[in-house]
Symmetry: C2
Subunit: 298 residues, 2 copies
């Protein structure tokens, strides 16, 4: 374990703390419950879940630092060379109770194997009802964090996000996107990797400013059975994405990660209705339109 | 398309009719709604769904007959040689409202490609509360259907079922099993394939006798919030199996089958709770015991 890995780990651990603190303040009622866990082959983590909060029906924020031999399934799915690996990261998915408040995901991670080391991460917003101001605020916050480091980052990572969070069997994106990046720093110098860590740190620090104002803006918005039913159907798409396509989830399950920590991203309550079609011209149909045709939000 | 394929198709189409009729009688209220659909590359099907019936919260029974060029994703995932394929089958998943009545799945199919033709299928029971009489009745019915054709079938197909319906990330089976078989008839003579069709026909005919008495026995059983909550959590495992592991589902989605017909197997309402653990010694824990250690039920 080198100095960069150590700095990344400390960063992610601190990020879990600051994000959980910010979310508890926002929720104004619910508290995170922590489960510390250890990995058989090396390392461990701390999973924090808030259930039935005031705002959040379920919120999971995980930190992990795992390392050890690259063996078994891990050898089949992990990039790079070398007999051992090191990985640390923070990952979160927040499921608000109100369909007026979007679900959000963020993840930042550092991996090392042999001489290779790289960063991955991103954050994406999944509204149930489209509010263009929300999407613009979210994207502008990420654009600002990216632009401070490289003006090429945001356009590239925004597109990557739109491509990654796709449900091809539905012909829909998971949400209105955000940013997504991976393999950042592969083959780069130690100095460049140090700069990338600073970029990832700034992204981590941008999460609460990207999300909190959106949640706060809709705290008082009313909703009824129709909106709740739509939210549960849309949460089904979230489950489909995570279990079928999400690399973190499928990688984690295949390599026998801690199941409960991996699947704490799944929504608390979900509906599947056969051939559910929103009424043309309805707010529900308007959301589908934007999920089918990604927009430029900045 | 040869005579065997034609006989298989007629068999499965008739089976869909007779099973739907039997289930409507059992439900005593709900009716199936049919969607006929066509496949772009050739063929089509008829999907039948009952929603919010008296007994069934959601029940899907699908018939399909698809054929055409083996191209794209299909070429990567389909066994056999030859530029064209033919596949026909019937598939069902029933989700009762009451947690006292098990969920059940059955599927019977015929595939042909080049000179190869084969049958696959099976049926498995997923109770929320273990009733040993139910499990015994279900397995004995399948054993009887198998034994009429080959005494080696049931032991082999029962074990295959236990192995197939596993959630390795949970260390659990999906339910108490049943029978599962695939590739039956590959390399066999036309006469042998004809005999296999008769076997599959007898399996199809055994479905209602295998399931109806179980559902009827528990029609009047009471349940409360605790049992309903447990059912929704367990339905989450069903979703996990279908979206992560089930070959029919993943094959169908990858090869751009009709999404709504493939996913009509998903339960209507589902819960994911972080680290849900039933109380030791409870009926919920007793179910987990049997899911972790498959039993001999005949």
């Amino acid at each position: 374990m080198d100095a960069l890995a150590e700095r990344a780990r400390d960063l992610f651990r601190g990020l879990q703390d600051s994000i959980c603190a910010g979310l508890e303040t926002l929720d104004g009622g619910g508290q995170f419950r922590e489960d510390a866990w250890q990995r058989e082959g090396g390392g461990g983590g701390r999973s924090r879940v808030m259930s039935e909060g005031r705002l959040f029906e379920k919120a999971g924020v995980g930190f992990s630092e795992v390392f050890g031999a690259v063996e078994g399934e891990l050898a089949k799915v992990m990039a790079g060379d070398g007999p051992t690996f090191y990985a640390t990261g923070v990952s979160l998915v927040l499921h608000p109770r109100s369909p007026r408040i979007p679900t959000v995901h963020a993840n930042f991670r550092y991996l090392g194997r042999g001489s290779a080391r790289w960063f991955g991460g991103g954050s994406d917003l999944t509204p149930y009802y489209l509010d263009e101001d929300d999407a613009r605020h979210f994207h502008r916050t990420w654009r600002a964090a990216c632009d401070r480091h490289d003006p090429a980052y945001y356009p590239r990572f925004k597109r990557w996000c739109d491509e990654y969070f796709q449900l091809p069997h539905r012909g829909e994106a998971r949400g209105v996107g955000g940013i997504f990046f991976d393999d950042l720093g592969k083959g780069a110098s130690p100095e460049e990797c140090g700069r990338l860590l600073t970029f990832v740190r700034d992204c981590g620090a941008a999460f609460l400013p990207a999300y909190l104002p959106i949640a706060e803006r809709h705290l008082g918005d009313g909703f009824g059975e129709r909106e709740r039913a739509w939210q549960l159907v849309r949460r089904g798409r979230y489950v489909e994405f995570n279990l079928i396509y999400d690399r973190g989830t499928t990688f984690g399950l295949r390599t026998r990660g801690r199941t409960e920590s991996i699947l704490m991203s799944l929504p608390p309550l979900v509906r599947w209705e056969y051939d559910h079609q929103p009424e043309p011209g309805s707010p529900e149909a308007a959301l589908l339109d934007v999920l089918r045709t990604p927009r430029d939000w900045t």
